[in-house]
Structures are given as structure tokens and as C-alpha cells.
């Protein structure tokens, strides 16, 4: 018996199987491989280990790590700590879902197809958009694909990015556009409010601009109160408005479809997905417009139909002629594998919460964030928020002592607190500004601990 025999059911029948297929040895099956590339020496990798040994080994490796449900980080910016209801965990642990492939054979894959159709519907309801796809890898890549879609649809080559949007979204957009030979241009923000500089937008936008990408709330946590004016400026020049959102905030904020966004993207991780050190998360992608526009969307899209000649409902992948397996180099994107299971988690999460739950959750998140801000201000050594725009869950903190943000980050770390990403990681200057985040998972005890630590290190 080998340590991995449980994975190789035919170990003892190899000879028999070889003979049955007219071969004498395994080597014979590789006889068409040039002998000079055949490896003789075994790979230099660890293992094999039994299941118990692996569980113990990895448990030990991870034992000194700081991540813990009891010590939620005060970190956001694109991935946030949230509570994952056990029902969501149970649903995505159904192995009928998680060990299935992309639903190419619709008749035996109705489960995942209906779940993804419902995910698309829930996202359309939440964002008030006309069509959502069945998921992208994550927020940054969804934002990048949105910019590519806008360029394709408008036939224009310039893309503007709000520089107060997340660093990772801006970098991934740049990577994707560079492939098309395009460098996105940034539009700055007001140094007091942290909101998009509308004057600069008006200067930079023109009829050669395909789209503006802007976040609401933005990376500093601020609600973009100028979003309606921004919409007018963008649409006047015939450009598209792409908005990036954090989905729980839509329990309070007007959805993108209602202020004229043409494409809405966002991070679905807050909807029932653990932080997972940044992945797997869930890219949200939705569009508003006519069918010609919807057809430019990347990714899988599920539609509802009926049985042939009957009225029993059924679900199938639709508009597949946009996709790589059919259209090859003329496809709207190369995406194939996406984040379906995470989309099922989000669908389960949103249906558990419903309208009332989402509204309540958003209220709790922003109330806790405002409470924490009040408490930090009481310390007296911090200016919170530094950017004055009204904030949702994330906010900026300035150390009035002038100390560097990374000093604060490390001091908090030494007290086993994770929070205060230095803004200087992402922007030139802003050495004494840090970014914090608070959600529904933070209790009064957690905030007390943070405030106490901030008092100590000030």
C-alpha cells in the first residue's frame, strides 16, 4: 500500500489494462516522446504524506500566523472582513456544485445554471442594471474588462481613471489596456474632500475618450457626492461611465443604474465569501443598454428558456458567440474559467439577507465606522477622517504628530492589531495618512482595543 493509493484505484490492474489495449509496458505508451526529453530522475519535491500527516504539517506551518476570526483586521480597500452565514458555507460545500464543470451540457447542469441565473438577477436588482454576467475573477479584472468593452463599443482609444480609485484596480486596468497599446490617464482628486476633481475631468475629457472609471465610494471610503454631475460631464462627450462599487453600500446608496452608469463593476467578496488572503473573490460585472451593448460583455451569461416544444423552464449559457471557444481571436474576452462557485455563494448570501437584511447590514457597517471615527478623534492625536467627504466603511486617518504611516502600521502589528494601510504605499506624499476599515464584524471590544493602541502609539 502506498500513501496515495486512495487516489489510484487501478494500481493493481495496470498490467491487465495495458494488455487489454495491446501494450506491453507503460514506457511503450510514451514511445512517441523523444528519448532525450524523458526524465529518469524522480522529481525533487516533498511527499508523499498521508492525510493525517498533511493536516498536522500544514496546521503547524500556519499555527504562528496572525489571521483569526477573533481578531478581525481593520483593513479594507477591496477585500473586507465580513461574517459568512453558515448556510452559505453549507450551500457551496454541496459537492454537486463544487465538483462540477462549466455547464456545457445544460440538461444535467440545471442546478448551477439556475443558481447563476439567479445570481445575475440579484446583481441586476442590487445595481439596477439590465444584464449581469455569471462572474469575473475579481473587481480589478472586472474593471479592466469594462474599460476594454467601452473601447470596443465606442471605437475610441482613451480611457480616464479616477486616481482616487483603488490602487489595484488602477494597476490591473493599466496592465490589461497596455495589451491594447493604450495607457489610461488619471484624473486627480480634491485634496480636501478626497472627491474626484470635476474641473480636471472637464479638461481631460473629450470626444476621443471611451470611458471614465470612477469608484463610489472611492478608495478613501468617501461617497462620490458629485456622481450625477460626473455622469453628465462624461455623457456629454459621448463617453461611457464605468462605476466600481462595494456591493453592501448599495443598501444605502443609490444604485449605479439610477445615476446613469453604463457599466457597473465591483467586488463580490463581501457577499458571503471569506477574505482568503485576497482570493478566490468575485468580480461583479453588469451593463445597462441595448442588446448591441450587452453583446459586448465579456464572460459567461446564463439565460432562461424552456424545453423544446414545452413550457417547462430551463436554463442555458446564451450569447456564446461572444466567447473564446467559438469566436477565438474575435471573442470579447479570453475568459473561460471564472468564479462560478463564489457567485453561488453571493446568490445564497443575498437571498438570505433580502432587502431588509442588506439595508440593515449597510447601516450597521457605516454606523460602526462612524462610531470608530468618533472614538479615534477622542484620542486627540489623530485627524479623522483626513479626507472630508462623507464615508461609508473605510476612512483615512492623519497622525497629527506627523509620524509615518508605516510606523503606525508596524506599531499596531506589534500589538497584534492589523489596520492602517499607509496611503504612501499607493500615492506619492501622504506619509502620515493611513487607511482603516470597519464593518459589522467589529465589536465594541475590538474598537476599544484599537483606540487604546492608537492612544499608546501616538
Amino acid at each position: 500500500m502506498k500513501k496515495y493509493s486512495h487516489l489510484l484505484p487501478n494500481e493493481s490492474e495496470i498490467e491487465l489494462m495495458l494488455k487489454a489495449s495491446g501494450h506491453n509496458s507503460i514506457d511503450e505508451l510514451y514511445s512517441d516522446v523523444p528519448p532525450e526529453v524523458m526524465e529518469d530522475a524522480p522529481l525533487n519535491i516533498p511527499g508523499p504524506l498521508t492525510q493525517m500527516e498533511i493536516e498536522r504539517k500544514i496546521g503547524k506551518i500556519l499555527s504562528t500566523d496572525g489571521a483569526s476570526q477573533d481578531n478581525p483586521p481593520f483593513l479594507g480597500g477591496g477585500i473586507w472582513p465580513h461574517y459568512v452565514p453558515p448556510a452559505v458555507r453549507m450551500i457551496i460545500s454541496r459537492s454537486e456544485f463544487y465538483t462540477s464543470y462549466t455547464p456545457y451540457q445544460a440538461e444535467v447542469s440545471q442546478g448551477i445554471l439556475q443558481a447563476l441565473f439567479e445570481f445575475q438577477s440579484l446583481i441586476c436588482d442590487l445595481m439596477k442594471m439590465d444584464a449581469a454576467n455569471a462572474s469575473m475573477y475579481d473587481w480589478p479584472s472586472a474593471a479592466a474588462e469594462a474599460c476594454r468593452m467601452a473601447m470596443r463599443y465606442k471605437g475610441r482609444k482613451r480611457v480616464l481613471l479616477a486616481s482616487n480609485s483603488g490602487f489595484e484596480r488602477r494597476s490591473v486596468i493599466s496592465t490589461y489596456l497596455r495589451g491594447a497599446g493604450v495607457e489610461p490617464e488619471e484624473v486627480g482628486f480634491d485634496p480636501v474632500t478626497g472627491l474626484l476633481d470635476e474641473g480636471e475631468l472637464e479638461q481631460k475629457i473629450g470626444e476621443d475618450v471611451a470611458a471614465l472609471y470612477v469608484e463610489h465610494p472611492n478608495f478613501f471610503g468617501c461617497v462620490e457626492t458629485g456622481i450625477k454631475r460626473i455622469e453628465r460631464i462624461v455623457h456629454e462627450k459621448g463617453a461611457l461611465l464605468i462605476v466600481g462599487v462595494e456591493p453592501t453600500s448599495l443598501g444605502i446608496l443609490t444604485p449605479p443604474g439610477e445615476y446613469g452608469a453604463d457599466i457597473a463593476v465591483g467586488e463580490g467578496q463581501p457577499l458571503g465569501i471569506p477574505m482568503n488572503y485576497g482570493g478566490p473573490s468575485l468580480g461583479l460585472f453588469a451593463a445597462r443598454g441595448d442588446l448591441a451593448f450587452i453583446r459586448q460583455m465579456p464572460g459567461r451569461i446564463i439565460g432562461m428558456t424552456t424545453e423544446k416544444g414545452g413550457d417547462r423552464r430551463g436554463f442555458a449559457m446564451v450569447l456564446q458567440t461572444r466567447e473564446q471557444h467559438i469566436r477565438r481571436e474575435r471573442a470579447t474576452s479570453n475568459i473561460c474559467t471564472n468564479q462560478s462557485l463564489m457567485a453561488v455563494a453571493a446568490a445564497a448570501y443575498l437571498s438570505l439577507l433580502g432587502s431588509e437584511g442588506v439595508r440593515k447590514l449597510a447601516k450597521v457597517i457605516t454606523s460602526n465606522a462612524h462610531y470608530t471615527v468618533k472614538r479615534i478623534n477622542e484620542v486627540g492625536k489623530y485627524e479623522v477622517p483626513y479626507f472630508k467627504g462623507e464615508f461609508y466603511s473605510d476612512f483615512t486617518v492623519k497622525q497629527t504628530t506627523g509620524k509615518h504611516g508605516s510606523e503606525l502600521f508596524n506599531s499596531l502589528r506589534s500589538m497584534n492589531l492589523f489596520g492602517g494601510v499607509p496611503l504612501s504605499w499607493f500615492y506619492k506624499g501622504y506619509e502620515d495618512i493611513s487607511l482603516f476599515s470597519v464593518t459589522e464584524v467589529h465589536t465594541k471590544d475590538d474598537v476599544d482595543r484599537l483606540v487604546e493602541a492608537l492612544r499608546k502609539v501616538a
Binding site: 496515495y4 516522446v33 459537492s95 490591473v172 457626492t225 477574505m275
Partner: protein, 500 residues
């Protein structure tokens, strides 16, 4: 015994909804609720999500799951998809609190354990592929391909040759993602045909490689399950013209421990951990598509890259001289990566090699049992296949049946269909990949069902026109599904029950 898939009349969530119900109650706020100071026009008025109790939601999704075929319920031999068993240990490892509750911006010092797993995994993947440097960031195979073609692009740009090198050569047997990825980096796709051996036509290739060639993308073994035996001279030819060789790792499950892409002359490799390294497909994702390069390309990798300092501390480094930039948020699909590491530890060097050997044995064993009267082996008869093989249902099509009908008939037996109509170079293609996980008697059963379906379809070509019938739904109206007048992409417009 007749197979029957669950057939619930499961309504949509909005049709199950009733005002006043809730399935999860968020915790209260710490100290009373505050109102945001924003103009009223920015405050949401209508929010119209369904309202259900926890049981209703659970029952809904459990019923849906019962109408979903999966590896855990039956053999799923989709060619090039490597639907092997997903060991449960790996899920347990990935659901560790230390993984799930880690935030990507957390200080490096607080995630050294997790980083050391990622580092070890990179080292293992470099060894397995015979490459020098690995980057775990791409979220899926196609994103790995995008990384690869962007590296090719940047490499020529740095050398001042990008204006001239506009073309990527791709075999006609390649996956659709290859040309789609090349197009995303603005390359023109040049297709090289396969010859009668089912592999790249070397003579024709010679005529296509020019000083405009930027790179060549290959899948080895290819989608016909055939080893590209000319790969060494192909690599030589491509390199002589100053272009780069890209390896699509979709079919690595055939050659683990026996052949390393690095030794075949490839400069860039992507892997599909959700295929070869057993991480579950999740109904379409998430996956992970790490890329590996030879050392001369290591400065082109996506950032951030994981580095070990001289004192053994692991950290993410963001500045690389020629980096193509960042492809996704964070550092990769960590939950998937951790599972793959657990899989490698389970098997070790000999185990991985045996995985491939047994996948290849199973594929040849199954192919040999198929009745050639109905299923013609395409290309290169007598040459052993690797982990998968392709047959053509042309003899059945000639009588009015088709690969499609065979596929649908199979669904009625509790088995999943093979990949059909791919690769495009085989008419009525059926691409079958049994993987090492399936017990021999299941392979026997699959062969006997395929043969019996073939025989019946041959004798009565109309027999399976209305298949499948034992599944959650019968054949669907695909025309209606995609027709502009009936296209339904969400439940908007459907009558909402009890919602007023």
C-alpha cells in the same frame, strides 16, 4: 436500471419570496445607527431583493444542487478538462481559519506560514515544469495565457522589435483561449495546420515563421491526446527567428514526472491547478493558472512577486524592471493554491508520475474498447494516446445521427458526455479524458454504454433525437434562449409573487 436525475419543480427565489421573511440577521451596530450626511438623491429608495427564511434558501439551493451533475456523482470525462477526483483533505486545509481570515494587506510578518506554503508550491511547480521562476497570481488558465502573451509582447518591446513582431503562431488544434489571449495583447493570430499525424505540420510551419513572429503557443500533448513529437525542432526553429515558445498547461496531466516542458524548449508555461492538481472546478471556477518562465524572463513576471530575504523572511516585492504589471487583486486564488500544495504533498515525486501514467493507461484502455464502426479514431492510428483521445462519430452522422445525439443519449445513463465538436479539426469530434481517478469497471461500463448507444444510433438514427429525457429537463430550446425577442438574462419582468 434506468437512471433518473432529480427533477424538482424548483421555482425562482423571487417566486418563493414573501414579505417580512429573512434568512440571516446582521449583528446590531455598536452604538446606535447613524444617517449618512449625503444628498437625498444619493440615498437609495427602492431595493427589491427576495425575502426568504433560512430553510427556504437552504432547501432551494440543495434542490438545485441535486439537479447538477458532478464528479462526486458520476464519471465526467470531458476532454481537456481533467475532471479528476477532488480530494476532500484539500478542502479541509483550505478552510483553515489562518487562510480564510487573512486579509491581503495584513503585515507580511503575520502571514509567514501561509507565504511559506505559497513559496514551497512555487518551488514544486518550477521543479515539475522544469522552469526557473513561478508566479502564482493568474486566477485561471486564460489569465495565465494573458500573462504569457503580455510577457512575449514586453520582451519584444524591450528589445525594440515589437513594431515588427506582430504575429503569434497557434496550431489549429488549440483551445479557443489561445487565440483570444493573443488578441488581447494585440497580436495577429497565424494558424498552423496539423498534418496527418495529428500534430503540427512542421513543413508548413517553416513557411509561417518569419521575422514578424513574436511567439508560438503549443499544447503538449495536444488536444488530440498526441505528443507533439517534433517539439524540439519546432522550438529550435522558433528560437532561431528570435521568437518565444509558450506552453499551454491544459494537458500536463499526461506527462507529470516524465517530461518537463522546460526541457522541451518552452520559455513560458502556464498551469491549470484546477485540472492537473485536483482543485475542484466549482461549476466553472475558481481556478488558478500560475505561470512559470525561464530565468531570462523572470524580470517580466506579473507583480507582486514573492521573495525570500537572506534571513528567511518572505515578502511581496512590487518592483521588477520589466514587469507586465498586475493581473488581479491580491496575490492569486490562495484557497485554490493551498489545495494544490496539499495534493502535491499527498502524491510526492513517484505519486505524481503514477498519476500521469495511470491517466494515460486508462485513456488507451478506454479507447481500445470503443467500437470503430461507430467511433473512428482520428489521426495517427496505432500511436498511443496520452491522457485523452478523440474519436469521430462520422459513421453515425453519415446515417443521420450525430456526436451531439450520442452526447445527449449518454446523459440519460448517469454518465457525463465527452467534450463534443472540439477540436475543430475533427468532424463530429468526441474528446474523452477519463483521468486516473475512475476505477476500471467504470471505464468498462462507459465503453459498453458508448458502444451500445452507437449501435442503436447506427441502426435507428432518429432514436436519440429527443434525448435526454431522464434529466432534470429535456432538450432545451436553444434558439429561444438566445433570440433577441425571447432572450431572458434575469428575472426582471417576471411576475413577482406576493411582492405587490
Amino acid at each position: 436500471m434506468t437512471y433518473r436525475q432529480a427533477r424538482w419543480n424548483e421555482r425562482l427565489l423571487i417566486e418563493l419570496s414573501k414579505k417580512g421573511r429573512i434568512g440571516y440577521v446582521p449583528p446590531p451596530s455598536i452604538e446606535g445607527d447613524v444617517e449618512l450626511k449625503i444628498p437625498s438623491e444619493l440615498r437609495r429608495e427602492h431595493l427589491d431583493l427576495p425575502s426568504l427564511s433560512e430553510l427556504q434558501v437552504v432547501r432551494h439551493f440543495v434542490r438545485l444542487s441535486q439537479m447538477n451533475f458532478s464528479v462526486d456523482t458520476g464519471m465526467y470525462p470531458l476532454g481537456s478538462c481533467t475532471m479528476k477526483y477532488n480530494p476532500k483533505l484539500n478542502d479541509r486545509i483550505a478552510s483553515s481559519e489562518k487562510v480564510e481570515f487573512a486579509h491581503p494587506y495584513q503585515p507580511h510578518s503575520s502571514v509567514q506560514g501561509l507565504l511559506s506554503i505559497l513559496y514551497e508550491l512555487s518551488v514544486c511547480l518550477a521543479e515539475i515544469t522544469g522552469m526557473d521562476e513561478v508566479n502564482l497570481q493568474p486566477a485561471a488558465g486564460a489569465q495565465g495565457e494573458l500573462a504569457g502573451v503580455l510577457i512575449i509582447r514586453k520582451y519584444h518591446e524591450v528589445r525594440g522589435e515589437l513594431d515588427r513582431r506582430r504575429e503569434i503562431i497557434i496550431p489549429d488544434s488549440a483551445h479557443g483561449t489561445n487565440p483570444a489571449s493573443a488578441a488581447m495583447a494585440n497580436f495577429d493570430v497565424v494558424t498552423v495546420p496539423s498534418d496527418e499525424r495529428g500534430i503540427v505540420d512542421y513543413e508548413k510551419l517553416k513557411g509561417l515563421v518569419t521575422d514578424r513572429t513574436a511567439g508560438m503557443m503549443m499544447t503538449v500533448p495536444n488536444t488530440l491526446g498526441l505528443f507533439e513529437r517534433d517539439v524540439l525542432r519546432i522550438a529550435k526553429l522558433i528560437h532561431e527567428h528570435g521568437a518565444l515558445m509558450y506552453y499551454d498547461g491544459a494537458n500536463l496531466n499526461a506527462i507529470l514526472g516524465r517530461v518537463r516542458p522546460g526541457k522541451l524548449g518552452f520559455d513560458i508555461v502556464h498551469l491549470n491547478l484546477h485540472k492537473t492538481f485536483s482543485t475542484p472546478h466549482g461549476g466553472g471556477g475558481p481556478g488558478a493558472g500560475p505561470i512559470a518562465v525561464k530565468s531570462f524572463l523572470k524580470d517580466y513576471l506579473p507583480v507582486p512577486v514573492l521573495r525570500m530575504t537572506p534571513d528567511g523572511h518572505l515578502e511581496w516585492v512590487h518592483n521588477l524592471p520589466h514587469t507586465i504589471g498586475q493581473l488581479k487583486g491580491g496575490y492569486g486564488n490562495i484557497g485554490v493554491l493551498v489545495r494544490a500544495y496539499s495534493y502535491i504533498l499527498t502524491l510526492g515525486p513517484n505519486g505524481l508520475r503514477e498519476v500521469s501514467e495511470q491517466a494515460v493507461v486508462s485513456s488507451n484502455y478506454l479507447m481500445n474498447q470503443l467500437n470503430q464502426e461507430f467511433y473512428r479514431i482520428s489521426f495517427a492510428e496505432g500511436v498511443p494516446r496520452k491522457h485523452e483521445f478523440v474519436v469521430s462519430a462520422k459513421p453515425l452522422a453519415a446515417r443521420g445521427s450525430s456526436a451531439q445525439q450520442v452526447a445527449k443519449a449518454l446523459l440519460d445513463t448517469g454518465f457525463h458526455a465527452p467534450t463534443v465538436y472540439f477540436p475543430l479539426i475533427v468532424e463530429e469530434a468526441m474528446m474523452i479524458e477519463p483521468t486516473e481517478s475512475e476505477p476500471r469497471e467504470v471505464l468498462d461500463e462507459y465503453a459498453s454504454i458508448l458502444n451500445s448507444v452507437g449501435k442503436k444510433a447506427f441502426e435507428n438514427p432518429a432514436l436519440y433525437k429527443h434525448a435526454p429525457q431522464n434529466t432534470a429537463v429535456g432538450p432545451l430550446d436553444e434558439v429561444k434562449a438566445s433570440h433577441p425577442l425571447t432572450l431572458t438574462l434575469n428575472w426582471k419582468g417576471l411576475r413577482r409573487s406576493n411582492e405587490g
